[in-house]
Symmetry: C2
């Protein structure tokens, strides 16, 4: 009662108390509504467990793993922490069935699926008592995910690194539209590397955030040090979405990128692009550190990443920035 | 004192009181930190004066006007309201000198310049006691604008409608980076059509917002009713940035768009695209209502615009949404 009075006396009344991140924290059993992206070549057990220990939800990225490698990472993560962590499985993975069997056998409790139909694995995973989150890049696929019975959604905007949707909808436009389309818990991704951006995502209607680039460049990331350094050095305009005729991917503008970009500009066909891409370029760039010929997947927020930090420090920074930004906004009611 | 105690008792303390929009309201002498974009074929005296009367800053878009037409619009706006309004001048306009003379002669007090160097007109305009705001799409040009002595900046993201920057930086990534680069008052543009998005822009560090698409489809917009209807019917993924080899522009996906998009995908040269574009297509689409062959410039936020409303109703809605979203966030401090 007094709270309401005080508030309305000061700058207008709020008629409800609501904590947007409660849903996410409860679903996953975590302290902060922050998920680290399950990124190929970056998100091993070390990053995932560090994020979970810092109070977020760490994801192991199975996209770059064979089933036996994934098993090893899950077992190491279990040894490193008793806190919840999850696994991300891109549904274009040729060994997805074996991966899913490893996941359920090893007692993983949370799975993020992406790049495919949310119908494919949801009931299998639910059957094993696993929380299922599906990654989408449009309101339409958010609706399909809800129909498929998933427990939460990640909506990822155009500014994100790596592979993404064809419609190029940015986080600013995407989150409110997904928020309207579904009542499922909603995690915003794409362009988030600071506490201010976290707060912006919450303002747009998200209940939590998934952060990629910032953790890709963290100390605990399994990416090559050269790649992490390249991320820190990437300035504004230093990335671009290419390979749109294959699977659109946002890359740092290196020599390989420029060849592809020129070819696309000159009308290269999907076949020609496939040949230019070849095999193993993401590994070559991000895991082996070939900054010239590798595929260097990163989001636009790389321009806001200034140093390679341990996960624990990153969390402290994010939370401080979030709270400071919230303080700045708190009394901005418009009358 | 009590406020602090109460706050910290409840969910952690804020150590400062700060109203991010105060700067913008003071600079322009307006009630709400909302500027309507100075859009070609949409932003005439009617829209500009309606926005100013509703408490924001209305802009007349000189991009589609000859000097004598602009004079008429300024005079009508002056008759319609004594409240401040401004004029937007794209610096690729062939008659910009004559436009600037009309602006200073007719006693306009606020000018937004875009698509050119901020050095070009700033001292001329300052010499006439005019507040100068420059539109940028990168932190680098924000710095150049500050050097040129402008009074405020609009930073416009990739999701915006019409012509935009080549780096494709989205509002989510752009605003924090421009905020770091300059201490000038900062207006966020691109992807903003709801109060939630306004709040998100403020969280990112903006002091105010510039809204285009929503006002382009307002009752007072001078656009053709067919175009306004097309905006309302545009769904998610219904726009795309094209003509990147000329001046990148975000368009609704109509027949003309598809021809251009196909040609680009097949490697069309700048010359070929110029020929396809021809002259007067923006007028044809937005002012004359040719939805098939016209250029239909609109932002991604069109998908969030559900009806053609009067400006006054739009403002009430925006402010209600902003305050509600702020209420939802108010107690979301992370501890």
């Amino acid at each position: 009662m007094f709270f309401k009075w005080h508030n309305s006396f000061y700058k207008g009344a709020c008629h409800f108390l609501y904590f947007p991140m409660d849903t996410i924290s409860k679903i996953f059993g975590i302290s902060y509504p922050v998920v680290s992206g399950g990124m190929a070549w970056c998100s091993g057990w070390k990053l995932a467990s560090a994020v979970s220990k810092a109070g977020g939800l760490g994801l192991i990225g199975a996209g770059s793993m064979h089933p036996n490698v994934l098993r090893e990472h899950i077992q190491k993560a279990h040894k490193a922490t008793t806190l919840p962590f999850g696994v991300n499985v891109p549904l274009m993975h040729p060994e997805q069935e074996a991966l899913m069997n490893v996941i359920s056998a090893e007692g993983v409790k949370i799975v993020f699926t992406s790049a495919g139909s949310p119908k494919k694995w949801t009931s299998f995973l639910h059957g094993h008592g696993i929380v299922v989150v599906h990654v989408v890049s449009s309101a339409k696929f958010a609706e399909k995910s809800e129909e498929a019975g998933v427990d939460a959604i990640v909506a990822e905007g155009f500014e994100a690194g790596g592979h993404e949707g064809r419609e190029e909808t940015t986080t600013m436009a995407l989150i409110p539209s997904v928020r309207k389309a579904t009542s499922l818990p909603l995690i915003a991704a794409g362009g988030i590397a600071t506490g201010e951006q976290m707060l912006a995502a919450m303002a747009l209607g998200a209940n939590g955030v998934q952060i990629g680039s910032l953790f890709a460049a963290s100390e605990e990331s399994s990416a090559h040090p050269h790649f992490k350094k390249a991320v820190v050095e990437t300035g504004e305009g230093g990335t671009k979405l290419v390979l749109k005729k294959l699977a659109p991917v946002r890359l740092i503008k290196n020599d390989f990128f420029r060849r592809v970009d020129d070819a696309e500009s000159n009308g290269a066909t999907a076949e020609e692009l496939k040949e230019m891409l070849g095999k193993g370029r993401a590994k070559r760039g991000m895991f082996e550190g070939d900054l010239v010929e590798g595929e260097l997947e990163i989001g636009q927020s790389a321009s806001l990443i200034q140093e390679i930090l341990p996960v624990d420090t990153i969390f402290k920074k994010l939370i401080q920035e979030y709270n400071d930004a919230l303080c700045r906004l708190k009394n901005s009611r418009l009358d």
